[in-house]
């Protein structure tokens, strides 16, 4: 099966700093990959590179069959990325934000409302400007903006941060649902317990390179294993 993400010796330079120093990575469709590693190891950069947001300086890479050096726009419109910042429009309401993202991929108008329902966004704060929402509510809105696009790959950078227990369960079930529907997910996280339960495979990034994880083979035998 052709991998949805294929990196060979990928280097990403931020300013003059090699955040990624030659990463080899293959991810197959339907995997939920946990990207672990210490702070500053390059987890976020790896996600941003694969989402077409950070540049590929050296090496080669394809995502969904598109070249990371030349066809980044094709990649961006097919993937979802949730970073540390939510990137919402603060003056618009939660619903308007979700609608904007829905329309950007040409999704039917009903999708925005359906997604908000699915994310259990209470209707009483759907119409409020995002600036008035709490951190948890904003995070949920940002997640709705991602979900509504039905991305083929989900890139989640520390998605559990700032969410309460209920929202975390909801997030996990959303990811599983999407993957069951043919999507793929990369999750960067510190909270290994939480994310390891979700993931089908774990990779470790240290010093801008990817390494295997002892015991990773066993994990892939678990029920949520590779498709």
């Amino acid at each position: 099966m052709e991998p949805v993400i294929h990196l060979r010796d990928a280097v990403t330079v931020l300013g003059r700093f090699p955040a990624l120093a030659g990463v080899d990575l293959d991810v197959a469709r339907g995997e939920i990959v946990l990207v672990a590693g210490p702070n500053g190891a390059g987890k976020s950069t790896l996600l941003r590179l694969c989402a077409g947001l950070a540049p590929l300086a050296k090496g080669t890479g394809q995502v969904l069959g598109f070249d990371l050096a030349r066809q980044r726009r094709e990649i961006r419109r097919r993937v979802g990325y949730l970073g540390h910042a939510n990137g919402l429009y603060l003056d618009l309401s939660a619903e308007e934000n979700v609608r904007f993202w829905a329309r950007s991929v040409g999704a039917p108008p009903g999708d925005a409302v359906a997604t908000l329902d699915r994310l259990e966004v209470a209707s009483r704060w759907r119409g409020l400007a995002v600036a008035h929402l709490s951190a948890g509510q904003r995070r949920r809105t940002a997640l709705a903006c991602l979900v509504v696009r039905r991305p083929e790959i989900w890139f989640l950078d520390e998605p559990h941060t700032g969410l309460d227990a209920g929202s975390r369960d909801l997030l996990d079930s959303l990811v599983r649902e999407a993957v069951a529907g043919g999507a793929t997910a990369l999750v960067a996280s510190h909270e290994l317990d939480r994310s390891a339960a979700l993931a089908t495979r774990e990779i470790r990034i240290v010093g801008g390179v990817a390494g295997g994880v002892p015991g990773a083979d066993e994990r892939s035998d678990q029920p949520m294993g590779e498709c």
Partner: protein
């Protein structure tokens, strides 16, 4: 690759020699520039006669006009070429060409303004006239300062290259529009200038004028080659530093695992 081939012909320093921006070609060129400048001085200050109306002030024109043309036409032209080249090929060669040309154009334009107002004082009676060409040069000067400001605004070489290329191209495209607007704006305002095609010009003055054009063009090229090589060497150093940084970062990864 196109780029490396072109750099090769421009006399790219070998990997082992990061200590000099000179080559046999530039040394010959440099000697030529010095000889031409000496001859230019003799022609402009001693050999050529004073002009009928302007007197000795005309001598400044052998400096002012070639500076304006080398900076304004050659410099901005190469800035545009480098910018287009970068947006098309996305290689650092074109970016550095645009950067070097932009910097030299800024210097030449500044000197054009200086010599222009020094000339204006005796001829017009003021240091500044809203003469169309002088106004155009002033706007161009500020545009080039903006280009330089962008080059120092970011430390990310790729972001800087992309944005600078767009600015270089937008600025170059603006020049004919500014030219048209200041010409119409000051259209009725005739100021004394020196037209090299004026048949009343003395033959020696005409020769001096054309010689000065050649001299300053060669000077511009010579400076450009050196400025480009300095930038190129900086890039090589940064590349080496990056390779080292990558190795270090990998080692950091291996230690931990």
């Amino acid at each position: 690759m196109t780029t490396s081939a072109q750099v090769e012909t421009a006399g790219r320093p070998t990997e082992d020699r990061l200590d000099s921006t000179g080559s046999r070609f530039t040394r010959v060129l440099g000697v030529m520039v010095v000889l031409m400048l000496v001859m230019q001085l003799a022609l402009a200050l001693v050999i050529s006669p004073p002009e009928v109306l302007q007197g000795d002030a005309v001598r400044l024109f052998y400096l002012h006009v070639p500076l304006a043309i080398a900076g304004g036409y050659l410099g901005v032209g190469l800035l545009a070429v480098g910018s287009i080249g970068y947006l098309w090929k996305r290689t650092i060669f074109w970016d550095l060409l645009a950067a070097s040309a932009g910097e030299l154009a800024l210097m030449f334009t500044a000197l054009t303004l200086l010599t222009g107002s020094l000339w204006g004082r005796p001829v017009w009676g003021t240091y500044w006239e809203w003469d169309p060409r002088l106004t155009l040069t002033a706007v161009l000067f500020v545009l080039l300062i903006g280009y330089r400001a962008m080059r120092t605004a970011s430390t990310d070489p790729h972001l800087r290259a992309r944005r600078s290329a767009v600015i270089g191209l937008l600025a170059a495209a603006d020049v004919p529009l500014i030219r048209m607007s200041v010409d119409w704006w000051r259209g009725l305002h005739q100021t004394a200038t020196l037209n090299p095609l004026n048949p009343s010009l003395d033959g020696m003055m005409l020769f001096t004028f054309f010689f000065s054009m050649v001299t300053f063009t060669v000077l511009f090229v010579w400076l450009l080659v050196h400025r480009f090589r300095v930038a190129w060497l900086e890039e090589q150093v940064a590349d080496r530093a990056l390779d080292e940084a990558i190795t270090q970062r990998r080692a950091e990864g291996q230690e931990t695992q």
